[in-house]
Subunit: 253 residues, 2 copies
Amino acid sequence: MISVVLLGTGNVSKNLFESFLNNSDIDVVQVIGRTQASLAYFKDRAKTATDWGNLPIADICILAINDDAIEEVSKLLNTDSLVIHTSGSVPIKALQLHKRYGVFYPLQTFTAQKIIALDEVPICIETEWEEDLEQLNKLGALLSNRIVSLSSEKRKMLHLSAVFVNNFANHMYTIASQICKENNLDFELLKPLIKETAAKLDTLTPEKAQTGPAKRGDFKTLHEHLTLLEEPQHREIYKLLSNAIKASYGEKL
Amino acid sequence: MISVVLLGTGNVSKNLFESFLNNSDIDVVQVIGRTQASLAYFKDRAKTATDWGNLPIADICILAINDDAIEEVSKLLNTDSLVIHTSGSVPIKALQLHKRYGVFYPLQTFTAQKIIALDEVPICIETEWEEDLEQLNKLGALLSNRIVSLSSEKRKMLHLSAVFVNNFANHMYTIASQICKENNLDFELLKPLIKETAAKLDTLTPEKAQTGPAKRGDFKTLHEHLTLLEEPQHREIYKLLSNAIKASYGEKL
């Protein structure tokens, strides 16, 4: 049994919370938030509190809060337990005022509106001491079958890669959905393509999976697409990305 | 039973071919390619030929060739059958020299190395005459459960949207895979995230699904990411897309 205090009430916290509750080997001692309103999601299923300076005893205190706030908020915590954060980009050193500290970064996109299972989610852990590494390995193994020990530097680069495959890929979906809306086309039509684009990576590298007018140097279609895009920013994105795809061929739009 | 002649030997042709062979109601009368070498894939399972000017009799002649070549190659075809192309961006008029002509655009990413089932793939059809529409509806229904009748103009906009969700999203995967390689990180770690990014759209609009430093205005992380990116083009893409995501908040990097 591992006991945890969950600090923070956002997307990551809610997703971790559900996985914790589903696991009989994890005991959520308390969830701590800024306001009673932010704790509404949790309060019927766990003890909740708004006092960050008075932590109950638990094996691990999990700071699942905004990157910007981690270092400052961690200073409020008066505990000898292992204190960890869940951020991809914040260095482990942000928690070094604590006796024991570490990182537990689940590499996934979390939204409160869609709680997901963590089984397949890689969890990147980092600690200063062997004993804490064991503890985080144990917590990780209760949630996921993919635990990776990564330094802060490597985790940062992985998080940066994640911004490309998630944040930026999702923005491509957003632009497509806008184009569909403007032309009375059903965005649903694109979903099988979106899924196959992701699924293709099980078989092919992204380099091998690349198709389209930029890849095959079809300038007629590229130029026509630029005239069809009404939004200047969409044109700029289309041009930059098509040129990037074409870059290996040494040609420019 | 519908009989077809398949003209072209590329990714679309190979994927259609497999679905045709799997369907006892479709008869592939012949596959026509430029060279014997290009026909190697087909030759043990169908009649093949390199003579584009001498078509066998069939209900439908399917031009599954490069967009650039459709109009020119269609002029070589001496037939009274329904002639169709499979392109997202080429107007139906490119085939107007024929007596009967149309478009049969399967909205999906096709590569020869990964043959996929067409069941869920939206097939966008267009014809000039009702009788031909029925014929294409019939062929489409044998392959997929999603047939959509679309004008050339709408199909063009759908294809443009597809470039964003497929070509450009895949380029995001490529950049991430390069960052991983440079930092000795396993690109495999990103695959659950890539899949969930796509799967999320079953529950949320892309606008609602957006997360990340640009979305939440986390300038510290944004600026740090720019310093971590070694490739100037990756930096340019990161900046443009982050600014685009931030655009609705009126702030710039």
